[in-house]
C-alpha cells in the first residue's frame, strides 16, 4: 500500500462537500483510505494520525487530497478527485430546489457555449443589427442564414469574404428560403429528400423549384439561398459559388439547379464558367435571360422555374432533357379550348391582365413570359421594357399590370403578404371588380412560414370583387398558381380544390399560369382587332 497526495492550491470548499468527495474516493476498488480536506493544521494532524501524512507543504487555504491503496487505484482516485472538485454544481440546470429553470441564452456566444454542436445561425433581427449577429456567428464557427434585409453591400461583402476564409457559408442577407439537411429555414415547403441540390438567389423561386421537384416525385438534397444581392457586381456571387462547390462535393447531390434573376454579365460569366467545371450536371435558370445564350457544355439552361425543375428531374430519371422552349406562346390544346370558352364570356372592354403576387419572383417571371408574347405592361417592380407604376401601382388604366405585394412600399410596418395576405386580398377584390380586367393572375404560396390559411381570404375577396363587378358579363377569368406540396401544413391538393370550387382556374406552375393569362390577353386583343377590322 502506498499513499499519494495532490494539492489544489488556493481553493476553498466546505468540509461537508469535501467529505462527500472523500467518500466517493473511498468507494473505489483498491483504495483503503481517502481524505480530502482544507490543509489547516488541525486537518493535517488528523491526516497524519490516519496514516495519510507525508505530503508536500500546503497552506491552510490549499485543498489537499490524500489517498492510500494500490498504486493504480491511487492515481485513479486522484483523477476522480480532480474531476469532482472541478465540477461546478449549481450553475447549470435546474436547482435541486426546483424553483429555477435554465434561461434561454441571451447571445450567440452563450448559445454556443451551452451547445457547442450548433452549426447554423438563422438571423431575422431588424436589418441594422443583422450584420453584427452574422459576424458573431461566423466568428463562433457557425454558418449563417440572414433572413433580414437592409444590410449594406459593404457588410454583405465583409461577411461573405470572412465566411469564405473560415470555410463557412453566408446565405443572405434577404434570404427567405433554404432547406438544409432536410430542415426548413425561413419560408420553405415540406419536400422529400432526394438527389437535386438547389442554389438560389430568389426565395420564392426556390420554393417553386423545390415544390415542383417534390410534386414530380423526386426530392431535394440541399436548397441553399444566397440572398437577392449575391450575384451583383459588388458581391460577385460569393455565396452562389460557395454553394455550388459544396453541392458538387456532396455525395447526395446528383444535379444542381441554379436560380437567379439575370446576374450582372461578369458575375454570370463567372458562375457559368464555374458551373461548367463541376462534375455534377447543372441546370441554370436566369429568369429573363434567353436560355439559348448560355446552354451547353455541361450546363442546361431553363427559361422558367418550372422548366428548371422539369429538366433536373429528367436528368435524374435518365430521360433526355426537355426540348428548348419555342420562342412564342404555346399552351396545351385542352387548356386553350377551356380558356377560349371563358374568353367568349368576357365583355369587349375586358382587356387587361391584372397580376397580384405575393412572391416577387412570380411577379418577375410572369412579366418575362408575357413580354415574350408581346405583352408589355406596368409594374411596381418592372422588368426591363415594362413601365414603373407609382402610387401603389393603382389607376393603371387599361395596361397590363403586375403587382408585387411583397415590395417595400406595401410592407412598411406590416408583415409580408405571404405571412398576412389581407392587403393582397383587398387588392384582388379591387381588381376583380375593375371593369377592364380580363384575367386576374394570382399566386398562393404554401409552406412553413406562410399564412396558415392563405386561401379562404382570397376566395372571399374574389367573391366580393365579383359581386362589385358590373354584372355577370363583366366577371374576369381568375387564374391561380399554388406553390407548395401536399406535405405542407396548408396541403396543396386541398388548396387547389377549394380554388377550383370557387371558379378559379388553377395552373400547375407560375409559368403556366402566366402563359394562360397571356393567351387570354392576346386572344381578346386579337378578337377586338378582328372586330374593329370587321367594322371597317
Amino acid at each position: 500500500m502506498i499513499v499519494k497526495h495532490r494539492i489544489v492550491p488556493n481553493v476553498y470548499q466546505d468540509s461537508v462537500a469535501l467529505m462527500v468527495v472523500s467518500s466517493k474516493l473511498l468507494a473505489l476498488d483498491g483504495i483503503d483510505a481517502a481524505s480530502v480536506v482544507m490543509a489547516t493544521p488541525a486537518n493535517l494532524e488528523n491526516l497524519l494520525a490516519a496514516g495519510l501524512g507525508g505530503h508536500q507543504p500546503a497552506k491552510p487555504s490549499d485543498l489537499l487530497v490524500a489517498v492510500a491503496g494500490e498504486d493504480d487505484a491511487c492515481e485513479a482516485a486522484l483523477e476522480l478527485a480532480a474531476e469532482l472538485l472541478a465540477a461546478t454544481p449549481g450553475i447549470e440546470g435546474p436547482s435541486t430546489k426546483g424553483t429555477l429553470t435554465q434561461p434561454r441564452p441571451s447571445n450567440l456566444q452563450r448559445a454556443v457555449a451551452a451547445d457547442p454542436a450548433l452549426n447554423l445561425a438563422l438571423i431575422s433581427v431588424p436589418g441594422p443589427y443583422a450584420a453584427a449577429e452574422a459576424m458573431k456567428a461566423l466568428r463562433l464557427g457557425l454558418s449563417v442564414m440572414i433572413f433580414s434585409d437592409n444590410v449594406s453591400e459593404d457588410h454583405e461583402l465583409v461577411l461573405k469574404q470572412y465566411a469564405a476564409r473560415q470555410g463557412l457559408m453566408v446565405m443572405g442577407p434577404d434570404c427567405g428560403t433554404a432547406i438544409l439537411n432536410g430542415m426548413p429555414l425561413g419560408f420553405a415547403n415540406v419536400v422529400r429528400r432526394g438527389p437535386i441540390g438547389v442554389v438560389g438567389a430568389s426565395g420564392t423561386g426556390m420554393q417553386e423549384v423545390t415544390s415542383r421537384v417534390h410534386n414530380l416525385g423526386s426530392g431535394i438534397s440541399q436548397a441553399l439561398g444566397t440572398g437577392g444581392h449575391d450575384l451583383s457586381e459588388a458581391i460577385g456571387g460569393l455565396s452562389m459559388l460557395t454553394g455550388m462547390a459544396a453541392l458538387d462535393e456532396d455525395p447526395d447531390t446528383e444535379v444542381i439547379v441554379l436560380i437567379s434573376k439575370p446576374p450582372s454579365p461578369s458575375v454570370a460569366a463567372t458562375v457559368l464558367h464555374r458551373a461548367r467545371e463541376l462534375r455534377t450536371p447543372v441546370v441554370v435558370v436566369f429568369l429573363g435571360a434567353d436560355p439559348a445564350s448560355f446552354t451547353g457544355h455541361g450546363v442546361q439552361a431553363a427559361l422558367t422555374l418550372a422548366d428548371a425543375a422539369d429538366a433536373a428531374v429528367a436528368i435524374i430519371e435518365g430521360r433526355p432533357p426537355p426540348p428548348p422552349p419555342p420562342p412564342t406562346a404555346h399552351i396545351a390544346p385542352d387548356s386553350a379550348a377551356a380558356l377560349t370558352a371563358a374568353i367568349d364570356a368576357l365583355h369587349q372592354d375586358q382587356q387587361a391582365i391584372r397580376g397580384i403576387f405575393c412572391g416577387g419572383t412570380f411577379c418577375y417571371e410572369a412579366q418575362v413570359l408575357c413580354q415574350r408574347q408581346g405583352l408589355s405592361g406596368g409594374s411596381n417592380t418592372p422588368i426591363a421594357g415594362n413601365t414603373k407604376l407609382h402610387n401603389n401601382a393603382e389607376d393603371a388604366g387599361s395596361t397590363h399590370t403586375f403587382i408585387d405585394m411583397g415590395d417595400d412600399q406595401f410592407t412598411q410596418g406590416r408583415p409580408h403578404p405571404m405571412i398576412d395576405p389581407s392587403l393582397r386580398d383587398e387588392r384582388v377584390a379591387h381588381e376583380a371588380a375593375n371593369p377592364g380586367t380580363a384575367v386576374l393572375l394570382v399566386d398562393v404560396v404554401l409552406g412553413l412560414g406562410s399564412a396558415a390559411d392563405p386561401t379562404s381570404g382570397l376566395i372571399q375577396a374574389l367573391n366580393r370583387g365579383r359581386h362589385d363587378a358590373a354584372g355577370p358579363g363583366r366577371q374576369p377569368i381568375v387564374i391561380a398558381h399554388v406553390c407548395g406540396t401536399d406535405g405542407d401544413p396548408q396541403d396543396r391538393a386541398r388548396t387547389v380544390s377549394a380554388l377550383q370550387a370557387a371558379g378559379v382556374t388553377v395552373a400547375s406552375s407560375n409559368a403556366e399560369a402566366a402563359r394562360w393569362a397571356a393567351f387570354v390577353a392576346t386572344t381578346v386583343t386579337g378578337r377586338t382587332a378582328a372586330a374593329v377590322g370587321g367594322a371597317g
Binding site: N10, Y12, Q13, A17, M38, P60, S61, A86, T88, P89, G90, I91, S95, T96, K97, L100, P103, P105, S106, N107, L108, Q109, R110, A111, V112, D115, A117, L118, N119, L120, A121, L122, V125, Y129, A131, A132, E133, M135, K136, R139, G141, S143, F147, S152, D154, V158, L159, Y162, G167, L168, L180, N181, G182, M183, A245, L247, E249, D252, L448, G449
Partner: protein, 483 residues
C-alpha cells in the same frame, strides 16, 4: 460548408420565433435566443462588439487576466497611515475619493461634506466655510482612490492621516489599501463632518490605529480568501452583510490584541468599537477584492472588468485591456427600501468604491449566500439565487474559492466580461447602501442597483479601437462603420 451536410443541423435562432417553431415541427434541433439589440441599441457599438467576439487575442488576454485574478492571494499584512502607504499623499494636500475623477464643483453633497470633514481632521482648515473655499479654490488636490490602488466605501475619502488596511497579493507582492469603517449613523463616508465625526476620526487615527496595527503585526499575515469563503457559508455576501466576516476577523484580532500588551482601557474602547459595527470587515473585504482585481489589470486587449465605482454622479468602470481609462455613465437609480421618514427624493445617486466586491464576484454576485439582506431589500431567497445565477451569463468564469450553499455549493460568477454585458443586456447587480443627498444625514436605506450599460458600451468601443489599431490584428472579421 459541405461538412455541414454531414452533420446534424443544430440551429441558433436569432429573431422570429416562428422559424424556430417550424424547425421543431420538422423535427429539427433549435436553440432560441432571448435576443435584444446589443449595447442598448447602439448599432455602431454593436458592430464593434461583434468584431471582439471569439477574437483570439481577446480570448487569450481574458484567460491571462482571469487566471491572475483567480491566482491572487490577498493577505492582510499591515495597517499604515495613508501618508505612509501612498506616496502621493505623503506631505501633500491631496485627498482621495470614490469613483471616477470628479471636480469639486461637480461633486455630490455627501462627497463635499466628507472632504470638508477630512480637511478639518487634517487641520488644513479650521472651519467648514474655509475648507469649502480652499477646496473650490484648488488648494486641495482630488484624485480617485483607485488611481493609488486604494478603495473606500461611499464617499471613499482618504486623507494622509487616516489609517489604512494594507493587503498584499502574496503572488505578486502588490499592495492595495482601504480606509477603516467608522460604523453607522453620522459618519464621514456619508458626508457628516460634525465635531463628533472629527473626534472619532482622530481617535481612529491614533488609538484604534495603534492597537489594530500591533494586532495585525502579531498575526503576521492573515489570508483573506479563506476568510471570505467561510463568511459566504455563514450568511455574508461580504458587501452589504459582513456580520460573519467581522466575527471571523475578530477571532484573529482579539487574541493578538490581548497578547501584545496594549492597555486594557484602550482594548476595551477598541473592541467596543469593532463589536458595535457589523460592517467593520467591509473595508478589509474591499481591499482584498481590489487586490484580486489589480492582479488582473493591464492585460492588453482583455475585456475583463477590473473596477466598478461610483462618485455620486457617474458610475465608472475600468477594463483590464485599457488600463486606468475610465468609462462612465450616469449612475442607475437604486431599487431599495428606505428607513422611516425618507424616500427616493432624499437619495443621493449611487456612491462608493464598494462595488469592487461585485467586480470580484462577491456582493450582489454572491447574493445567494445572504438571504438575510435579500429580505431586507424586499426580495426572496429565490430572487437572490436567481440573481447569482444570472450573473454567470456575463462572467468569464467562476471562482472556485467562493462557493454558495444555495447554489449547491456552486462557485460564484466572477470576471465580468464587458462584451457579455453589452451583448446580453444583463447588467452587473450591485448591493448598495443609499446615502442622503445632503451631507451628513447618513444612510437612509439600502437596495440593489445595476452598473449602467453606457459604461460597457464605451469600454467596447475603446477595446475595439485598440484592437483595430493593433498592427498584428487580423483585419478580416470586422464590420466597417456606416459611411
Amino acid at each position: 460548408m459541405q461538412e455541414l451536410f454531414a452533420q446534424e443541423l443544430r440551429v441558433a435562432n436569432v429573431g422570429l420565433t416562428g422559424f424556430a417553431e417550424n424547425l421543431r415541427h420538422a423535427g429539427g434541433q433549435v436553440v432560441e435566443l432571448d435576443w435584444r439589440p446589443p449595447a442598448d441599441g447602439d448599432i455602431e457599438a454593436g458592430r464593434a462588439l461583434a468584431g471582439l467576439v471569439n477574437d483570439a487575442r481577446v480570448e487569450q488576454a481574458n484567460r491571462i487576466a482571469f487566471a491572475r485574478y483567480l491566482d491572487a492571494q490577498p493577505v492582510l499584512i499591515d495597517v499604515l497611515t495613508a501618508g505612509q502607504a501612498i506616496a502621493a499623499l505623503h506631505g501633500e494636500q491631496r485627498i482621495l475619493h470614490a469613483g471616477p475623477p470628479i471636480a469639486w464643483a461637480e461633486m455630490c453633497g455627501p462627497m463635499q461634506g466628507a472632504i470638508v470633514g477630512a480637511m478639518l481632521y487634517e487641520g488644513w482648515a479650521h472651519s467648514a466655510e474655509v475648507a469649502e473655499v480652499m477646496a473650490a479654490g484648488g488648494q486641495v488636490a482630488f484624485e480617485p482612490a483607485h488611481h493609488h490602488h486604494a478603495v473606500g466605501p461611499m464617499a471613499g475619502i482618504i486623507s494622509p492621516s487616516m489609517p489604512l488596511w494594507v493587503v498584499e497579493n502574496s503572488v505578486t507582492g502588490d499592495r492595495t489599501f482601504c480606509n477603516f469603517n467608522e460604523g453607522l449613523g453620522k459618519v464621514l463616508r456619508f458626508g457628516a463632518n460634525t465635531p463628533a465625526v472629527i473626534e472619532r476620526l482622530a481617535w481612529m487615527g491614533t488609538e484604534l490605529f495603534e492597537v489594530v496595527r500591533a494586532a495585525v503585526a502579531q498575526i503576521g499575515g492573515l489570508e483573506l480568501k479563506p476568510l471570505l469563503a467561510r463568511a459566504l457559508h455563514m450568511g455574508d455576501e461580504c458587501h452589504n452583510r459582513n456580520a460573519a466576516a467581522t466575527a471571523l476577523l475578530c477571532k484573529h484580532l482579539l487574541p493578538a490584541m490581548l497578547s501584545d500588551g496594549s492597555p486594557m482601557d484602550a482594548l476595551r474602547r477598541v473592541t467596543d468599537f469593532i463589536m458595535g459595527n457589523d460592517h467593520f470587515f467591509l473595508n478589509v473585504s474591499m481591499a482584498a477584492c481590489k487586490s484580486m482585481l489589480d492582479a488582473a489589470a493591464g492585460v492588453a486587449h482583455s475585456s475583463m472588468v477590473t473596477v466598478m465605482a461610483r462618485n455620486g454622479v457617474n458610475f465608472g468602470i475600468q477594463v483590464s485591456g485599457t488600463g486606468e481609462e475610465w468609462f462612465q455613465a450616469p449612475a442607475n437609480p437604486v431599487d431599495g427600501l428606505f428607513f422611516p421618514g425618507y424616500n427616493v427624493q432624499d437619495a443621493a445617486a449611487d456612491l462608493g468604491d464598494s462595488a469592487i466586491t461585485e467586480t470580484a464576484g462577491l456582493g450582489g454576485f454572491a447574493m445567494a449566500a445572504a438571504p438575510a439582506i435579500v429580505q431586507f431589500v424586499g426580495g426572496t431567497p429565490a430572487d437572490a439565487t436567481a440573481h447569482s445565477r444570472r450573473m454567470h451569463t456575463i462572467t468569464l468564469g467562476t471562482n472556485p474559492a467562493f462557493t454558495l450553499p444555495a447554489l449547491d455549493f456552486g462557485p460564484t460568477a466572477a470576471g465580468i466580461d464587458a462584451r457579455a454585458v453589452a451583448d446580453s443586456g444583463v447588467l452587473p447587480i450591485i448591493n448598495t447602501g443609499i446615502a442622503h443627498r445632503h451631507a451628513g444625514v447618513g444612510q437612509i436605506g439600502a437596495g440593489i442597483t445595476t452598473a449602467p450599460m453606457g459604461c460597457f458600451v464605451a469600454a467596447i468601443n475603446a477595446l475595439s479601437q485598440r484592437r483595430r489599431a493593433d498592427p498584428d490584428h487580423d483585419p478580416t472579421g470586422l464590420l466597417p462603420a456606416d459611411a
